[in-house]
């Protein structure tokens, strides 16, 4: 899996790298960060059911600023998770993405959105347990957390791989939770999109890591 390396940034024994696979993810994340920087939030339209009446919802400026900051930070954390060559750094970035995703959703002051975000927050917090446990078991059994060295040496126990996978499922569970319509109905469309993008890229990256080590 490690053959198509394009760039490496040695930093001690954790060697950050971009392969042909991760460079695509990197570009995707970078495009969405730029979109979050330059785009304005859309105005959701609420239609009064059964009549012709409708209303436009404005996004308040402070909400816009907060969501934009969270979305940009989430994009940068996603880029970090893609580039890093260290499993513990990866788990930290994953946990970070989880927190920022809660932030993006929780900015909307709506009872239903907030209760959805609360449940999401609980799952994110539970997700950190298998995530860190997986990284710790890898460190305990192989003595290193560098993906570069693990790719050469191997010997990562399957239970650690499973824990890491479950942890990432917990952190980036937005694709499942987004089934709750209230989150997607919340205002601030380009920023809400960052939740999908970050969790999608996180899944793709963890698959790459688990196939490599």
């Amino acid at each position: 899996m490690m053959e198509s390396i394009l760039v490496t940034i040695p930093f001690g024994d954790m060697i950050h790298y971009l392969s042909g696979y991760t460079v695509v993810l990197f570009g995707f994340a970078a495009i969405f960060v730029i979109l979050a920087v330059i785009s304005l939030p859309e105005k959701p339209v609420e239609i009064v059911f059964g009549t012709d009446g409708y209303s436009l919802k404005e996004t308040p400026v402070d909400l816009l600023r907060f969501q934009r900051f969270m979305a940009i930070a989430c994009g940068i954390a996603t880029i970090g998770a893609i580039v890093t060559g260290d499993i513990f750094n990866f788990t930290l970035f994953a946990a970070f993405i989880g927190v920022l995703n809660i932030g993006i959703v929780a900015a909307v002051k709506n009872k239903h959105v907030l209760s959805a975000a609360f449940s999401y927050g609980l799952v994110v917090m539970m997700g950190t347990v298998p995530l860190f446990a997986g990284a710790a078991i890898i460190a305990a059994t192989t003595g290193t957390l560098s993906i570069w060295e693990l790719a050469a040496v191997g010997g990562v126990p399957i239970v650690a791989k499973l824990l890491l996978m479950i942890g990432v499922l917990g952190e980036g569970m937005a694709p499942f939770y987004i089934g709750k319509a209230e989150i997607t109905r919340a205002s601030g469309a380009p920023y809400i999109l960052m939740i999908h993008v970050s969790s999608l890229l996180l899944f793709l990256r963890v698959v790459e890591i688990l196939l490599t080590v």
Partner: protein, 206 residues
Amino acid sequence: MIEFFAEMDIIYKIGLAVAFIAIIVAFSAIVRQKDEIHLLIIVDLIEITGLVVIALLATDLAEALILPGLVVGVAEIMAVSELWLVKEGLQNVRPIRRLDIEVLHTAPPIIGAVLTAYGIFLTGFTGGLIAGLGLALFFLGKSTTENFLSSENASGYAWVLWVLAFLIFILFPSQWFLALMAAAVGIMIKVMAKIALVGTMRGDGS
């Protein structure tokens, strides 16, 4: 490190088994509990059992990994509990009046001054802690509404001093004593400013 683990393999496995039993117990509590605030507390408990798994590494690496893990956990519980407060509409609670007893008018300046002086004499993290406790006591006793811009500024500059000290350590190792002193003073002021802020928390919305 690999030999190290081979040596304590059985202990590590027992510890891991105990930690995972604790995790399972905590998760079963989550399933039974319905009240949201209790859910939040139990989830924090679950996170701590996760940190136990890291702590079982029992090396310097474990220490290096626990600190960020702890920070992530604290950040998450703060975010989610703030969210819960907003959701339940509990953000603007009635201000809590401070204790209005005689000893809080007279004692804090004296004890605060003594603790602060002793802390500055100690320097370093411990000194910052002691001096900060003195300041916290002082602010607790005083019904103050002054702004804390200067202490925040001092904290910022102290951080710069601390970073500079590390740069001196790396770039000019011969000047280690200067760097040590700069780092000690920097961390003292930083910790002092942080702990002093505790004394200003009265829940009056200021």
